[in-house]
């Protein structure tokens, strides 16, 4: 069951409601004001509030304190002090239409959106794709993330790990859908920038044209600021460009999305390093008022074993960068890659494509501990990369200044420690030598601090800048920092999230607005009608398979591996979504049907404790009598009972769980209910006398018949 934490909006709303219900506010004018407060609070709790609501709330609460009603005055006073201490939460409800605690039923956030570091409104864009509205889907994504296509190809998709559909079968292919929408909108020429706000005259300098810097540039430019990006490399994209190989992320994809940022008037200065070609002082002199330090983690950690300085020992980051910039030389015939993360996998797969005969990846732990993406590990294996687990390198063996092998120890895993991590423990006497011509190390990255010392910022012991997690402020007037330089090596989407937060902080700084003290809650961008479909189809839709380039071809070219979803495939995939932005998975429907009605028709395992029971939408139709109790008790409107033509339907987030033909009143012919329902009632009352000789009458006809028989006259119809 979704966690029921507390929310001040909900709590005070309930308090006002119960004060009114219990009539503890007596004075009529005080009562009127309390009623008005309830309306305002309800609007806020349901996402219908506008910019005026907070001011109204304050004014009404204040006037309530002035009434001659002790209870009312007390309530008014408490609302005022609540607005003082937790006003930000009220404001956030209004602006984001998301209640992070999930306590406000209509604003309970979808887990996928909450898991996305850039806060994309996943269910809404997935729903738009399901309806074939691709351009709107892209526009919606770009309100939170200017790189839908890049993320669609390389995002680590934390959203999919929490996707509720994963509890039914497998998660919605959220990432793939993003790439599909972006590509489709681009190819139709309907990928467009949103309108810019009028120019403010403020100048911002972004240091580093990676995902964090570019994202900040995008949002700042949209706010009307003049943004210049300085970049040490001769091209934009940062780690997306030089860290991720082309077979996963083609250069054109980055170029296209960067071009949209450039189109907003963002200026780029390439081959320009902070602390070398320019300094903070020189930039300030040019008129820049705010700075966003967003350099990547381009340096590698060292293995720290003897022999590491041999020329055939390469660090993966440098190696990938050289290949990305055009170098196509293979470092050796037999290459060992050390590491288990995505960079190690990328390096191994790149080595295969460069024509290395044998590429072996060594990892200290076992397969299940590998941090790399499962998909990519599988693709690497298909391409011929050999994986060797539980192996620790201890010395690079060289002869005549050339690498000839790597001396390794075997390892076993320790029992999990307090944090649940299992450490590799070397096994005595398990020394062995793996023959190799070159070794590529990918055991972690760090930030190159050269050039940044003169900024005079606080650094952590991991060589990262200490910055505010909410505003990105780095402790000095006008200086902000985010991305790898603050987080340590981060994912693309984490960097994008950091850029977005920083843009907000910088914008407020430039405009002299107060900074928030609470982390931003992602914005719910829409509440779209769910796509209607039969329960059996909803169950049968299995996660799409991404079509891939054949492994034969993959081994010899840098061509993109993922070929992209087809339109039909994408729309079907989108229809798998359970619309967790509407259904908050509180489980009330299940409880009512099972424990109160004792019908137990709903098999919705995903709304209960994980793994408690399986989900099968199809089973509802076996028992459901269409009484509507579940719908009447659903706090969000996700469960709906609806009469349509000759039928009554029960629909959960678009999934038709039950449909039955309706019986009619034998008096007026109006629809009464399905026979299963009528039988249910009949059975329960079977011990009692029959009224109207068992004729089935609607409520109106029954009342009329009763009145007629009391009066001995007939009631005209109508």
């Amino acid at each position: 069951m979704a966690q029921e934490s507390t929310c001040p909006v909900r709590e005070i709303r309930q308090e006002v409601a119960s004060a009114l219900a219990q009539e503890s506010i007596k004075e009529p004018r005080a009562r009127m004001r309390a009623e008005k407060l309830l309306v305002l609070l309800e609007d806020i709790a349901q996402g219908r509030a506008g910019s005026e609501h907070l001011a109204d709330l304050k004014a009404v609460a204040r006037s309530l304190t002035e009434r001659q009603d002790a209870h009312g005055a007390d309530l008014g006073q408490r609302i005022l002090s609540l607005l003082e201490s937790q006003g930000e939460i009220f404001q956030s409800h209004i602006l984001t239409r998301n209640c992070a605690s999930g306590a406000c039923d209509m604003l309970a956030p979808a887990p996928c959106q909450m898991a996305c570091p850039s806060g994309i409104d996943v269910p809404s864009y997935v729903a738009l794709i399901g309806q074939g509205r691709y351009q709107e889907a892209v526009n919606l994504i770009r309100q939170d993330n200017p790189f839908p296509w890049v993320c669609g190809l390389v995002c680590t998709h934390p959203c999919e790990f929490v996707c509720v559909r994963g509890q039914v079968d497998s998660p919605v292919a959220i990432k793939e859908l993003k790439a599909f929408a972006a590509e489709k909108a681009l190819s139709e020429g309907r990928y467009l920038n949103p309108p810019k706000e009028p120019a403010t005259g403020h100048m911002v300098c972004v240091v580093g044209a990676g995902p964090a810097g570019l994202t900040a540039a995008y949002f700042l430019a949209l706010k009307g600021h003049k943004v210049t990006v300085i970049e040490a490399l001769p091209m934009a994209g940062g780690m997306m460009m030089v860290g991720i190989p082309r077979f996963r992320l083609p250069r054109e994809v980055i170029d296209r999305e960067v071009a949209f940022i450039e189109e907003l008037g963002v200026e780029f200065r390439f081959n320009t390093r902070l602390g070398v070609e320019v300094t903070l002082q020189s930039l300030r002199k040019e008129g820049f008022e705010a700075f966003f330090i967003a350099v990547g983690a381009h340096a590698s950690h060292r293995l720290a074993v003897p022999g590491e300085d041999l020329p055939q020992v390469l660090d993966a980051v440098r190696f990938l960068r050289d290949v990305a910039m055009g170098a196509r030389k293979r470092p050796g015939e037999r290459v060992l890659v050390v590491g288990g993360g995505n960079v190690a996998i990328d390096a191994a797969r790149t080595l295969v494509r460069l024509g290395c005969r044998e590429v072996t990846l060594l990892y200290r732990r076992s397969r299940s501990e590998m941090p790399a993406n499962v998909e990519e590990v599988r693709q690497a294996e298909e391409e011929g990369v050999r994986l060797v687990f539980l192996t620790i390198p201890v010395e690079v063996m060289g002869e005549k200044g050339r690498v000839v092998g790597l001396r390794c120890l075997r390892a076993r895993l320790s029992e999990p420690d307090a944090r649940g991590r299992r450490r590799p423990v070397p096994i005595e006497g398990s020394d062995h030598i793996m023959a190799a011509d070159a070794v590529v190390t990918a055991i972690g990255q760090r930030v190159l601090t050269e050039g940044l010392e003169h900024l005079d910022l606080r650094w952590s012991s991991w060589d990262t800048i200490v910055a505010d997690t909410i505003t990105a402020g780095a402790g000095r007037e006008g200086i902000f920092a985010g991305g790898d330089v603050v987080l340590g090596p981060a994912t693309v989407v984490e960097a994008i999230g950091a850029g977005k937060r920083a843009a907000e902080g910088i914008d407020r700084f430039l405009k002299g607005l107060p900074q928030p003290t609470m982390p931003a809650v992602p914005v719910r961008r829409a509440r779209l009608e769910p796509w209607e479909m039969a329960a059996s189809l909803k169950m049968d839709l299995k996660r799409c398979e991404m079509p891939l380039l054949g492994p034969e071809r993959r081994r010899i070219t840098f061509q993109q591996v993922e070929l992209g979803l087809g339109e039909e495939q994408a729309r079907r995939e989108a229809h798998r979504c359970l619309r967790c932005d509407i259904c908050k998975r509180c489980g009330r429907c299940v409880v009512v049907c099972r424990d109160r009605m004792e019908i137990d028709a709903l098999k919705l395992g995903y709304v209960g404790q994980p793994g408690e029971s399986p989900t099968d939408f199809r089973m509802t139709s076996e028992r459901c009598i269409l009484c509507g109790a579940c719908a009447a008790n659903c706090p969000t409107g996700a469960m709906q009972m609806e009469d349509r033509g000759e039928e009554r339907l029960l629909i959960l987030g678009g999934t038709i769980l039950q449909r039955e033909r309706l019986e009619r009143c034998q008096g007026c012919g109006d629809y009464l209910g399905p026979s299963r329902y009528l039988d249910f009632v009949r059975k329960r009352t079977s011990g009692l006398a029959q009224a109207f000789a068992g004729r089935l009458l609607c409520e109106k006809c029954a009342r009329r018949a009763t009145a007629e028989s009391k009066s001995g006259m007939s009631v005209p119809q109508g």
Binding site: R596, G628, A632, G667, T685, A693, R703, S709, K710
Partner: protein, 192 residues
């Protein structure tokens, strides 16, 4: 039958609906549910003049209530001490079984709460020694509430007749042809 009677002298009733209004007001009901109803029967020509009858229909608080039997959650109850049939809102899940079961169409739907609501003789008022809201505000004083032993004889007789008409005659009525052809049902968007 409850320990109380609620007698309506239809010869004095002018169909002003004060009773309905005050019933709703007292229970703070939204648009839709009407717990007591004044049904207009007629007009019919009597002695060359058109005549209408106003029939007041509250809940009959049946001896063996259909609604109580039908309710799967125990929300619909009959008070042991005085026989008042009422809904416990806390327990009601809104399955409408009571509405379907009551032969007289008495329980109503409250769209605001998503629960059933019905005439309970204003038991909160009755417990305080007051009359039900409808009775208290009846303009012509044609509604009377009390214990049967307090009733004057003539009224008791009329009341017995009225109850007989409902509880007895109606129950045993033979099936007849529908009053009219089934009408084409209006298109409804939502099962309210």
């Amino acid at each position: 039958m409850s320990e109380y009677y609620l007698f309506h002298d239809s010869s004095k009733c002018i169909g002003c609906l004060s009773c309905e209004v005050h019933c709703k007001e007292n229970k703070r009901l939204p648009v839709g549910p009407r717990l007591c109803r004044v049904m207009t029967v007629g007009p019919k020509m009597v002695g060359g003049l058109p005549k209408v009858d106003f029939i007041f229909m509250p809940c009959f608080h049946c001896e063996r209530p259909w609604c109580v039997a039908a309710c799967p959650t125990g929300a619909m109850q009959k008070r042991a001490e005085d026989g008042i049939v009422f809904v416990n809102e806390e327990l009601c899940v809104g399955c409408k079984a009571c509405m379907r079961a009551c032969p007289w169409g008495v329980p109503q739907w409250n769209p605001e709460t998503g629960k059933a609501v019905k005439c309970d003789y204003c038991k909160d008022r009755v417990d305080k020694g007051l009359e039900p809201a409808c009775v208290a505000k009846c303009v012509t004083k044609c509604l009377h509430f009390g214990r049967p032993e307090q009733m004057v004889d003539s009224r008791r007789e009329r009341h017995a007749k009225a109850m007989a008409a409902v509880g007895w005659e109606v129950t045993l009525r033979q099936p007849t042809a529908p009053a009219s052809k089934p009408r084409k049902p209006p298109v409804r968007k939502q099962a309210e």
